[in-house]
């Protein structure tokens, strides 16, 4: 017979102020199956927990109800308490009489009555609880990191240093990501490439890291500890094992310097066979099939050009290269796919986001975004670090920087702050002034957000030492005008501190565009069953306490794919993600909560409704055969490693043959009955 102990917590005043805990204990003690009903000021405290274990031992309780806060807060605590006292930890239920009762009601009588009902429900349920055992799943001690920008590089290096084999997947021909294209970094003005390239070389050489550049994740199967990831290795037309990176091919290419280089955000050019930038890792070229004369001619059955192949001393060029699918077994996945900049153009992928018609929708050549400006002032950039504007190569004397382009602009559909623009704009003004001493750098800003170590000092330095001209106000329109035969960009702004319009004729306009997740991240998130917000930023499991975990077990996030952030924060988060993955991979096996779906295979008609609805792809249709191998029937079956216990399948099953352990129909009906009694 059930012997249930009910322990009602005052939570100091939190519960006791609006709930009469004595009356609650008294009322609950009369419920069938309740062997004791106590209350105490802090049930989660050491004496509170002792009270529970003493009563278990004294009365031989079979189940426990703790009426206190949310199970999110303390279910684990009380499961531990009960387990130590010798009762199965899944024989505990919590009645939330704080968040769902005392905090939201001011009438004590009403709150007390409701608390009694809530506890009654929990008692009805716990009487039907079964002793459960955690599920054990094996772990593959190998990790995959998706994206090889600074976040992915850091995560891969940390995982590799922890002794784990790492597959680092990058869709571009080189690792390095956005950071490899930056000039200097705030707040120290140290050269971005100087600090990043040693790390890039290290990932290229580390014995524990397998680099998969020019590759994309195609498919993800399996579950925590046991993922099976299919990676598409895109045809590169260059055998990077044979290639020595000598450069003969890209210097001989007839398309040399004729194709816009996406690494330079199309401000510089490359050939059809190219390395995106001199420090690329691997320092091996790639052939751009869309622009290669030979590959294009082959489509028409001809064999034109081929100069690179003729010149290659190591026979590394293979025009018949094909995409290749490679499968990897990994235990953990770290997503580090980064960001791109919001486009001010008229056409937007996300219909909720609008471009900037007032800034010309991108039709003015000298209205560029901040990443393009980074290339213009970078020593490795298309102008060799000389600030020259794209339209005519003139050295700009007056540059207008417009912060919050897109960010914090509800009318454009992006409400968030991109966090780093205030800092890099201050940096841009400095770098510009260091190169053009008689130049003027005007910044239009909404307010300056420079929280961080030495950050505000850095902005002050831009203003006070380097003479950047800050105007608090927005630019409402940019017009292209011609002054004495020279193109200028008239920026109609406001200086709201002076309370007057502020019009600046600029030679170059730099827009600090909002950070948005990189292309294709939502598709990847769907493959991984990771959530994302309306903008496509991946969702962490808890914004404060589980910042690098996701709701898909075994998948971790770091860097700007989770939200806008700067380099130090990205690196810290990458190490955190690697650390969390290492903790997981260091276990001999993983334990998972046993509250998962289970199928009554006798009842199941294998209609597949649950297979369709399962967000975690945890259900498959399997055959049941007898010992002789004769087919009996089909049934759906739940993979206990994949199931997250959401219960969606239970609600769609037409034959009621799926049930959720720990939340069975029997338990839920008992709860309802208790409420309606």
């Amino acid at each position: 017979m059930a012997k249930i102990g009910v322990f009602t917590c005052w939570c100091g005043e939190n519960i006791a102020r609006h709930v009469d805990v004595e009356a609650v204990s008294e009322a609950i003690s009369k419920l069938p199956g309740v062997a004791c009903s106590m209350n105490y000021k802090y049930m989660c405290s050491e004496p509170g927990q002792s009270l529970i274990s003493e009563k278990i031992k004294e009365l031989g309780l079979t189940g426990v109800v703790v009426a206190s806060c949310s199970p999110h807060m303390h279910l684990k605590t009380f499961r531990k308490t009960v387990e130590l006292a010798g009762v199965n930890p899944y024989m505990v239920e919590m009645a939330n009489i704080r968040e769902q009762c005392s905090w939201v009601h001011s009438d004590k009588a009403v709150a007390t009555a409701k608390a009694i009902e809530l506890i009654g429900i929990a008692v009805a349920k716990v009487r039907r609880n079964a002793a459960l055992q955690p599920i054990k799943v094996p772990v593959t001690k190998r990790a995959m990191v998706i994206g090889a920008g600074v976040a992915g590089i850091q995560a891969a290096l940390d995982l590799a240093a922890g002794g784990v084999e790492v597959i680092l997947v990058e869709r571009e021909p080189s690792v390095g990501g956005k950071m490899a294209g930056l000039s200097e970094t705030f707040p120290t003005l140290d050269c971005s490439q100087c600090i990043l390239t040693p790390r890039m070389v290290e990932v290229g050489q580390h014995p524990n890291i397998k680099l998969m550049t020019y590759s994309e994740v195609e498919k993800v199967d399996g579950y925590v500890g046991n993922f099976k990831v299919t990676v598409r290795k895109k045809a590169r037309y260059v055998d990077i094992a044979k290639c020595t990176g000598c450069g003969t091919c890209w210097n001989a290419c007839p398309k040399k310097n004729k194709i816009p280089n996406s690494f330079d955000y199309n401000l510089g050019n490359r050939g059809a066979i190219y390395i995106p930038f001199p420090q690329a890792v691997p320092a091996r070229p790639t052939i751009d099939a869309d622009n290669c004369l030979r590959l294009q001619s082959m489509k028409k059955g001809k064999e034109l050009c081929g100069i690179c192949m003729k010149n290659c001393g190591s026979q590394a060029i293979n025009f018949h290269d094909q995409d290749e699918l490679v499968e990897f077994d990994v235990g953990a996945i770290v997503v580090a796919t980064g960001y791109k900049l919001y486009s001010i153009g008229k056409e937007q992928e996300n219909p909720n986001i609008k471009g900037y018609g007032e800034y010309g929708y991108g039709k003015y050549k000298d209205v560029i975004d901040s990443l393009q400006f980074e290339r213009i002032i970078s020593a490795s950039g298309p102008t060799g670090g000389e600030p020259k504007r794209p339209s005519d190569g003139m050295t700009p004397k007056t540059v207008v920087f417009i912060q919050c382009t897109g960010s914090r602009d509800n009318a454009k559909g992006i409400t968030y702050c991109s966090k780093i623009c205030c800092m890099y704009t201050a940096k841009h003004t400095m770098l510009f002034k260091h190169k053009v001493h008689d130049g003027a750098a005007h910044v239009f800003y909404m307010d300056i957000r420079s929280g961080g170590k030495m950050y505000d000092e850095f902005v002050r330095r831009a203003i006070e030492q380097d003479g950047a001209l800050y105007h608090r106000g927005r630019v409402s329109k940019i017009e292209e005008i011609t002054v004495d035969g020279v193109k200028k960009y008239r920026c109609y702004g406001a200086d709201t501190l002076a309370g007057e319009p502020c019009v600046v004729d600029a030679d170059l306009v730099v827009l600090a565009c909002a950070m948005v997740p990189s292309d294709g991240v939502t598709k990847l998130a769907q493959k991984l069953s990771v959530g994302y917000n309306e903008y496509g930023f991946l969702s962490e499991s808890h914004p404060k306490l589980r910042p690098v975990e996701t709701n898909a077990a075994g998948v971790f996030v770091c860097g700007a794919c989770q939200g806008p952030k700067d380099i130090p924060e990205t690196v810290a988060q990458a190490s955190a993600a690697a650390g969390k993955a290492l903790i997981m991979l260091s276990q001999p096996y993983l334990t998972r909560e046993p509250e998962i779906a289970t199928v009554d295979e006798k009842l199941c008609a294998a209609c597949g409704a649950c297979v369709q609805t399962c967000p975690f792809k945890a259900i498959t249709i399997e055959e049941i055969r007898d010992r002789k191998g004769n087919f009996i029937k089909n049934t759906s079956r739940v993979n206990p490693g994949l199931c997250m216990g959401c219960g969606t399948c239970v609600s769609v099953c037409p034959s009621k043959s799926v049930d959720l352990i720990g939340f069975t129909d029997d338990q839920v009906y008992a709860e309802l009955e208790s409420l309606l009694a």
């Binding site: 329109k477 017009e479 005008i481």
Partner: protein, 285 residues
């Protein structure tokens, strides 16, 4: 096609030539205009600056009249009027309590079934291709700078018409009729509006800037669908010339150009009422 017609004060006062042009054009397109009986002021800037309820009640009464006349659409050639009517209509839709209250104030039952159109939207519902088919001649000589001013596209949420920062609906129509609209900067710049009464110099500066930009962009005329814009650009052009405007810029209503394409003559369109003379080559399609 039958549509309700709300002229508003401008078309019966300072811009009677706009009404002449609109009526002529609509007649040529077989669009019958049913003028709202006993219409009143839309409230304009004055009402919404002083009293919110008044700013809803005034246009609401006009909408009520349209409903009583069983009209499905009301065409207001002045963008200020069409915006105010639309704004009131939206507010009445969004708030049933307000709708009931305003209904009582204006002593007219309000259901909120009336759609409000500006001039371009009327042309859109006739169909640009249909208009082009009816055209008698081509607007080859016209290199218009299409000028939308502030209210045709704003506030974007209320008027929900074209791109607020880079509208192109006039250009599309005029291109179909053979004109060569220019790409220019000042499409949606303020003309100075009501400041024309209290800050003449300020309006002259705006007009100068707008017209100079049109000329610099290669235009030989400016086309607008707003009586206020037309008046300022036309009437204040003499002041703009004192500020250095290089040459005369004829200012047309959109309906003028469509009418010319449809074979109407300057006489049908009150061209003699314009301050800036319209050169002969721009008097016919």
């Amino acid at each position: 096609m039958n549509i309700g017609y709300y002229p508003g004060c401008a078309l019966h006062g300072s811009s009677v030539d706009y009404e002449t042009s609109v009526r002529a054009c609509m007649k040529a397109l077989d669009v019958q205009l049913d003028e709202l009986e006993d219409w009143i002021c839309c409230g304009a800037t004055a009402a919404h600056s002083i009293n919110h309820k008044l700013s809803v009640a005034l246009p609401a009464r006009n909408l009520g009249i349209a409903e009583r006349m069983n009209l499905k659409q009301v065409f207001a050639p002045c963008p200020m009027c069409s915006m105010e009517l639309k704004k009131a209509s939206d507010e009445l839709h969004a708030d049933p309590n307000l709708c009931a209250e305003i209904s009582e104030i204006v002593e007219t039952p309000l259901v909120g079934t009336v759609d409000v159109w500006n001039l371009i939207q009327v042309f859109q519902s006739v169909g640009y291709d249909n208009i082009a088919q009816k055209a008698q001649g081509k607007l080859d000589a016209f290199k218009p700078a299409c000028y939308y001013g502030c209210l045709l596209t704003r506030p974007p949420k209320t008027v929900n018409f074209d791109d607020p920062e880079d509208p192109t609906s006039m250009e599309e129509l005029l291109s179909k009729l053979g004109a060569s609209p220019v790409d220019w900067n000042s499409k949606t710049v303020c003309c100075g509006a009501g400041l024309t009464l209290c800050d003449e110099a300020g309006v002259a500066r705006q007009v100068h800037k707008i017209l100079q930009d049109a000329l610099d962009s290669g235009a030989n005329c400016v086309v607008t669908a707003c009586p206020m814009c037309q008046v300022n650009l036309d009437m204040r052009q003499a002041d703009a010339k004192k500020l250095g405007l290089a040459q005369d810029v004829p200012i047309f209503f959109l309906s003028d150009l469509v009418s010319l394409a449809l074979g109407l003559t300057p006489k049908d369109l009150d061209f003699q009422k314009r301050y800036v003379a319209i050169p002969n080559e721009l008097q016919k399609a």
